[in-house]
Symmetry: none
Subunit: 379 residues, 2 copies
């Protein structure tokens, strides 16, 4: 197994010797990394091999608990006054229908609070005014349609109109989040399937959650073999995925191996299995993030995660795309999942320590900024 | 009369001897109970028998003032990291029409602030965008219809569509709150009657307030004999209920006996009679909650109460359903009413001490978290 940390270290050594760069923002970032990692780096990687646990509640630990904070520091871009709007992330959430408006809002606003420059929502006409009313910070496109508002004979033309609207924008996005509050209307899901195909043709990463997972579980070809796809199933969504893909039941005793098989079977997509510990696999390795979060299980936390993973994934991809970067051998989707998981957990923990049992998702979103800042100070 | 406290004590003694469990969350909860009850337990139960009061403003006290805080501690679930979203409560409010949107919002958001994981609202199409815009935390279903938007000949088909929408969800709910901001449109109330019948068939508890009480008072068969129904009448709603069921006027001199008769007459539903002291009866016993609240009578406090009772009732039902629990002989609807009444009073008192005459319902909702935390710390 490769460890993210190994590449971090060579990365650091390199930075350390390039003293001519001492005043550049890149150097300052690396310098921060050196200070924060200190001498305890090796100790920060915990190997757990073939432990046996009697309790079925415990996740097996054949995975490697990563030093998620180091990952966050490595992929979060340094500020640079010469950058333009959009260069630190332009995210789009595809979701929001007559029934659901909170979920796409949570995902989209979380992307901004993590540090993206622009955050869009593509939703139905009914959902748009409501989502807009939650926040003037979001760009909300009322373009999706549900069956109830479309006559059978108009479906083809409306479907192509929806696609044309999305196509106007799609090349500008660094990542799409597909699913929060999408609903399960068949016509709408057909349009979203097309959007996913277009995103894939344009090599745009996609994070799939909620009803997007319902769609993908029943149409695996939409993501199969697409290395820039991330699935973020919760307990029940994971169960359906395992049943469909592996034709078996969830195995808690050997969760790591099962997740690895599942990701491999879907052609190397990255899966973030949410749970007491989050497990992340791209079919090659399995990482785990177990930072203490919150025991509160209020709805909407998954939406924060999908928006956060989208931003970190975009940032990681900028670095891994650079052949000179020491992260170039790393999978940006895995790095994005590690960072997103850890930041949500930290924010949830901060919110819970303040609001306790009454913590709601909005309280956690308010803590995203501090949880990023604590790990990776802006200046 | 049985006292909730008695079962609490045996419950505590048991926990106290099971030292092997000392590190479990359940033990920690029990341990907290022991500490909080201390030696003053017996003193916490006040018996008042056959006092006579000259003032008609004073409630008679043939009821037993309960130690509501101990009830709250006994029924509030301990946190457990292995739990999934929904396991600590999934509540639905049926209410919200063209005229009223605040009431269902207050009830639904209160459920989340008490500690439920998910809170839904089923309302009319006009009310939905407004209720959604109050908070992205709620899941708002725009499915109810009022007469003005339905042609006579379409009523049957629309009614069955409404029912089908609710039926998709109903089994997942731990409790329904029926009535906040429901309005009195006859067609809408017919649909809601059907929803109540379905809830009853599925053994889902229902808390009935506001216009739901108007409906039920005129159609007693909807709740009669259903032990999982809770009615939460205010002064006027109680008056109409007494007139209809007992064919008499409200008797302040013997409020306890009259409430007992009323609950018995409706076949053992639980009634929470709101007043200076809240009186609670299931036709077997009468409990009273007189914790100091607030003298402010701003509209909407009843909605907080209904949402809070729904959550506590759901939690109490999980415990009372367990034959090994020391609460197994208790009525979960009574426990839920006691806890909801006490928490609203505490939150109202906190809000009033800060906002005084300008206190509004939203201020009280903001204090729900602290009022639960003060009684039953989350960790």
């Amino acid at each position: 197994m490769k460890h993210v940390m190994n590449s971090q270290l060579s990365f650091l050594n390199c930075a350390n010797t390039c003293m001519l760069l001492a005043s550049s923002p890149v150097f300052r970032r690396h310098h921060l990394l050196i200070r924060s990692l200190g001498v305890g780096v090796e100790g920060a990687i915990h190997h757990h091999h073939h432990h046996t646990y009697s309790s079925t509640n415990m996740q097996d630990l054949n995975s490697v608990e990563v030093d998620a904070e180091s990952v966050i520091r490595a992929i979060t871009p340094a500020f640079d006054l010469s950058k333009h709007k959009g260069q630190s992330g332009n995210i789009a959430v595809i979701g929001g229908c007559r029934e659901y408006t909170g979920a796409p809002y949570f995902a989209a606003i979380s992307a901004l609070k993590i540090g993206a420059d622009l955050s869009h929502v593509f939703c139905t006409k009914d959902a748009a005014p409501v989502i807009k009313s939650y926040s003037p910070e979001l760009i909300v496109h009322p373009i999706l349609e549900e069956s109830y508002s479309v006559r059978e004979e108009d479906k083809k033309i409306i479907s192509s109109k929806v696609l044309a609207e999305v196509d106007k924008w799609i090349e500008r996005f660094d990542c799409l989040v597909i699913g929060p509050g999408l609903g399960r209307d068949p016509f709408l899901l057909d349009c979203v399937s097309e959007i996913m195909r277009h995103a894939r043709q344009s090599n745009i990463p996609i994070v799939i959650d909620g009803d997007g997972l319902f769609l993908v579980t029943n149409n695996l070809d939409l993501v199969s073999g697409y290395a820039l796809a991330v699935l973020t199933p919760n307990f029940n969504e994971y169960k359906r995925l395992v049943q469909k893909v592996l034709s078996s039941e969830v195995n808690d005793q050997d969760a790591t191996q099962q997740l690895l098989s599942l990701a491999k079977q879907i052609g190397g997509v990255t899966i973030l299995k949410k749970g007491k510990s989050d497990l992340i696999s791209d079919g090659e390795t399995v990482k785990s993030v177990s930072i203490y979060g919150s025991p509160r299980r209020c709805g909407g936390q998954g939406d924060i995660l999908s928006g956060s993973v989208a931003v970190f994934l975009s940032w990681a991809r900028q670095l891994t795309a650079d052949p000179n970067s020491n992260l170039s051998s790393k999978n940006p989707t895995v790095l994005g999942c590690i960072a997103g998981s850890a930041i949500l957990r930290k924010a949830a923990s901060l919110a819970f320590s303040n609001k306790k049992r009454s913590t709601v998702t909005g309280d956690i979103i308010e803590c995203l900024g501090k949880s990023v800042e604590d790990v990776c100070p802006a200046a």
